[in-house]
Symmetry: C2
Subunit: 189 residues, 2 copies
DNA sequence: ATTATCTATAGATCTATAGATAATGC
DNA sequence: ATTATCTATAGATCTATAGATAATGC
């Protein structure tokens, strides 16, 4: 049963969106192509008409997820530059983000997996991180551009690390403490 | 062929040390029990005499790796408290650490994997992180104990995040920039 | 006699591919 | 006629276990 050109595009989108959630929730090795396609409502075999390999899918998924996130950050920076940094930080360093990795930052859920994969996936992550950084550089204080950039890099790293720790720890109080400590240390312009 | 009581203990140590390297290098799902035992010079079947499950092994491995690291940090803090923070930071945020995950911090190589596993593994990571934090609290500046703790939490998070990013990025300059930015932002007592 | 390690295997995965099917779109 | 998806399968994994073997240590 063939489907329309339009339906093909929809199916492809559906695979990417399903994979975006499942990879982040279960890790790259935690979900197989067959189960993933089943979740997307298609069969295992249909996958290879859309993507050359599972790793190729992750590259597309990573670019897709970062694009959406960078877009949101940009929107906040454009609409309310004064409070954007605080808003981004509160959103990132929240219990909601911690408890829903399937909707969250790919670096915190897939960073070490991606570090072990090929250039295509790593390039997608790199472009995404650069997008995040570009927004942050506009929002942080600093005497000159170099100082702002350094501040943005250090702040981004602290946010990523706090979320990795908050998720892995088996101590709710300490988990919350990490998120709060980094939230409170965010630079205000 | 049975071996001596002493050899059994040595074999167990060898499994743990081999696993400590391989899990961090390849991820929890990236190395199987059979290959792991082969690397340790034993057969697949012998594994289950030493550990109840693969996850159980990771719990022991995590505790083992953190103990060694916390011990080193403690040694530096005791021997040269003035320069210990800088020394820990330079060591952690180095190309050597980035390029040899098999010898490095378990949070940066296995954090997201561990976040998806059971309480035993997560407790081992939690105890280890608390050990690291206890050392850092002594080394960072701060008006009172609460301020020091907050500083230690934020600094630890930044170190973890910078290493996760430095490893995942496909851009050597940006990778180095993240490590340098966090190194330069370390609080000096 | 006990037991640490061995070989062999069960049963369940995994990615990727080959060939059949059937609806679209020229 | 083309092609997106389907079923079925190859071939290679995976964790865990069962039962055999043989050296230790009472």
């Amino acid at each position: 049963m063939k489907v329309s050109r339009e339906q093909v595009a929809l199916n492809r989108e559906r695979i990417i969106e399903t994979a975006a959630r499942l990879f982040r929730e279960k890790g790259y090795d935690g979900i197989g192509v067959a189960d993933l396609m089943k979740s997307a409502g298609l069969t295992h075999g249909a996958f290879y008409g859309h993507f050359a390999s599972k790793e190729d899918l992750l590259a597309e998924v990573t670019a897709h997820a970062f694009n959406a996130s960078v877009e949101r950050w940009r929107g906040k920076a454009a609409q309310a530059p004064e409070t954007a940094m605080a808003s981004i930080g509160e959103n990132y360093l929240s219990e909601r983000h911690r408890d829903e990795p399937g909707q969250g930052c790919s670096i915190t859920s897939l960073g070490p997996d991606i570090a072990r994969l090929g250039p295509k996936v790593r390039q997608a992550l790199t472009e995404g991180a650069k997008g995040h950084l570009a927004v942050m550089e506009e929002l942080v204080p600093g005497a000159d551009q170099a100082a702002k950039r350094k501040q943005a890099l250090a702040t981004y790293a602290a946010m990523v690390g706090a979320m990795v720790l908050a998720r892995a720890l088996d101590d709710e109080a300490l988990s919350l403490e990490f998120m709060a400590a980094v939230r409170d240390s965010l630079p205000a312009d």
